[in-house]
């Protein structure tokens, strides 16, 4: 039965050490499935890349009655993320990676200072198994992508390659309603139009910024976009709209749609 196991694996299970690996040890935060799929896609992980930035956000007081962007905070969020991402990318460049897969961007607040935020960018640097250079970003550096190993494989099979992780951020203050305005709607169902339009504007600004980044990276489109609202310990009525996604380009030339393999439909009965 064991003859269907690969010889090298059998050696190891017998307790025999394989010869010393010349390539050294790679580190990654892949799951087993991601690891297999990234290799199936023709890439090899080489090392974890981390970028850190502890940032002190300036203070800005919003105009109580006005919906407006909090430019100081917007800039802070942008700048700090940029620093963390750049450092992660620099680590990847230093280890000679062609790209970074599965980037996780996290923001942590610290207990002792409400103006301090910690930004961490963490991903796994990969190289193309056959040394293909065509997967690098437009500036010749490593590509970045927040797609998981599974999505990475699927994207390549859809005929696209990741170029750069792009994001847009807008910290926005939604105006408070005046006393008279609140009184006039007591007991009525009305849309709070100024709130609605404030949300629209803020979201629009964030998306626009992300799109500009994608254009600057000479990408064709952005996949896996996630848009969320967050408040990182600011006053109420202050919201950060954040859009993030992976800018993509066709591999060499776009695959004709009919050549892309159709996924089979299944209905699992495991449960």
């Amino acid at each position: 039965m064991t003859n269907n196991l690969p010889a090298h694996a059998v050696e190891r299970l017998k307790g025999l050490r394989s010869s010393v690996h010349s390539s050294g040890v790679f580190t990654s935060d892949f799951s087993v499935n991601e690891f297999l799929l990234v290799r199936k896609a023709g890439f090899e992980p080489i090392g974890l890349c981390v970028g850190t930035c502890v940032y002190h956000c300036g203070i800005q007081y919003a105009n109580w009655r006005k919906s407006e962007e909090m430019t100081v905070l917007s800039k802070a969020m942008y700048h700090a993320r940029e620093l963390a991402m750049t450092r992660m990318r620099a680590e990847a460049t230093a280890m000679g990676a062609d790209g970074i897969v599965g980037v996780k961007l996290t923001i942590k607040r610290v207990e002792w200072d409400q103006n301090l935020l910690e930004f961490i960018a963490l991903g796994t640097g990969v190289v193309h198994g056959e040394g293909h250079q065509g997967f690098r970003a437009h500036d010749g550096g490593p590509f970045t992508s927040d797609l998981s190993g599974q999505d990475f494989w699927t994207l390549l099979h859809a005929g696209y390659r990741p170029v750069e992780m792009v994001m847009g951020s807008c910290v926005y203050h939604v105006a408070h309603r005046g006393f008279m305005a609140s009184m006039s709607t007591v007991g009525q169902n009305v849309e709070l139009e100024n709130f609605t339009s404030a949300m629209y504007e803020a979201r629009e600004i964030a998306i626009e910024r992300m799109q500009q980044e994608a254009a600057a990276a000479k990408a064709e489109g952005v996949v896996g976009v996630d848009m969320h609202e967050g408040n990182h310990g600011w006053q109420t009525h202050v919201i950060e709209f954040f859009a993030i996604g992976t800018a993509v380009l066709p591999i060499d030339q776009e695959i004709a749609p009919e050549k892309i393999q159709d996924p089979a439909l299944v209905l699992s009965v495991n449960n």
């Binding site: 694996a9 017998k14 390539s23 040890v25 499935n33 690891f35 850190t52 198994g129 393999q261 299944v266």
Partner: protein, 313 residues
């Protein structure tokens, strides 16, 4: 003893006391466990149980699900018995390094049990700990299933796979062997003599001192991870990336201090570069609503979800 127990005891009388022989046997067993562990050996009770399982005198025990058993059998993998190891560590001078010491000690003991069981590998190894918070200490426990591969002699150094049987087989098929656990842990203090972390009156600015401190700690933890993996394989799949930073205010003759710590826990793999993954991948779309059972995998590391209370360092 709770009130209920007391009432019950009052009604039926206390539980029958152990006979002197039984008491003595229990004491002897405890002493044997302690002496064996101190000598780096498998306790004789465990050794006897594993040997009996290995020879088929006792039924085998496996933590595998029926589906995993099916796949294991189709690849010539036979379960022998459940193996486990514990190291209850008290953090004397370092919480952070205590973690890597604790896991490494447990790993060694698990390996010894696997050797005693005549195994080629231990699958489905789960890292466990109970959040008891007893005197700055924590238990580091590993539980898994020792298996042998049909037609292979017992290994002097069984591989420890912290992945379920399903993933073990998937990896072996792709010529990747999960071999053990690697820990990268590091902590460091930052003494802020010059007040460079005080940014109270500043606008948007990076806290360079803290960033550099963090970076140094993380890099060191990752470097240790590589080191710890080196003896076992040529790569790691990290499951846990755990970091914390604390501030300690100024005190007499002492500046403001910061403590940063970072722990990475990973499965070590031995993979040859450039070996193609043999299986074709078929894309499917599950027609189920909600969470697809095809995606259902169990969490294998829960030690850090429960256990992030503070300790000294």
């Amino acid at each position: 003893m709770g009130l209920l127990d007391w009432l019950r005891n009052a009604a039926v009388g206390p539980p029958p006391a152990l006979s002197p022989q039984e008491q003595e046997a229990a004491l002897r067993r405890q002493a044997d466990i302690m002496v064996s562990l101190r000598a780096g050996q498998v306790p004789s009770v465990v050794r006897e149980r594993l040997e009996a399982s290995r020879q088929g005198r006792l039924p085998w025990i496996a933590t595998l699900t029926p589906a995993e058993l099916l796949l294991a059998r189709s690849h010539g993998i036979r379960p022998i018995g459940a193996v486990s190891a514990t190291c209850w560590m008290h953090y004397g001078w370092s919480w952070t390094l205590g973690h890597s010491q604790g896991w490494e000690a447990a790993l060694q003991r698990l390996r010894a049990e696997a050797v005693a069981a005549g195994a080629n590998a231990v699958l489905d190894v789960k890292m466990r700990s109970i959040a008891l918070g007893v005197e700055n200490s924590m238990d580091f426990s590993l539980v898994g299933t020792a298996v042998r591969i049909d037609g292979l002699p017992p290994s002097p150094e069984p591989v420890i796979a912290t992945v379920p049987a399903l993933e073990f087989v998937k990896l072996i098929d792709a010529d990747v062997v999960p071999t053990g656990i690697a820990i990268g842990a590091h902590y460091d203090w930052l003494n802020d003599w010059r007040g460079s972390t005080d940014l109270r009156w500043m606008g948007n600015i990076e806290s360079g001192a803290l960033t550099r401190h963090w970076e140094a700690v993380r890099r060191q933890a990752h470097a240790r991870l590589r080191q710890s993996a080196q003896g076992q394989g040529n790569g790691v799949l990290a499951h846990v990336n755990f970091s914390q930073m604390f501030e300690f205010g100024e005190r007499e003759n002492q500046p403001r201090r910061y403590l940063a710590r970072h722990i990475v826990v990973a499965t070590v793999v031995d993979a040859r570069r450039g070996v193609p993954v043999p299986h074709d991948i078929q894309m499917v779309v599950d027609l189920r609503d909600g969470i697809s059972p095809l995606l259902n995998t169990t969490k294998h590391h829960q030690a850090y979800q429960q256990n992030d209370e503070d300790g000294p360092i």
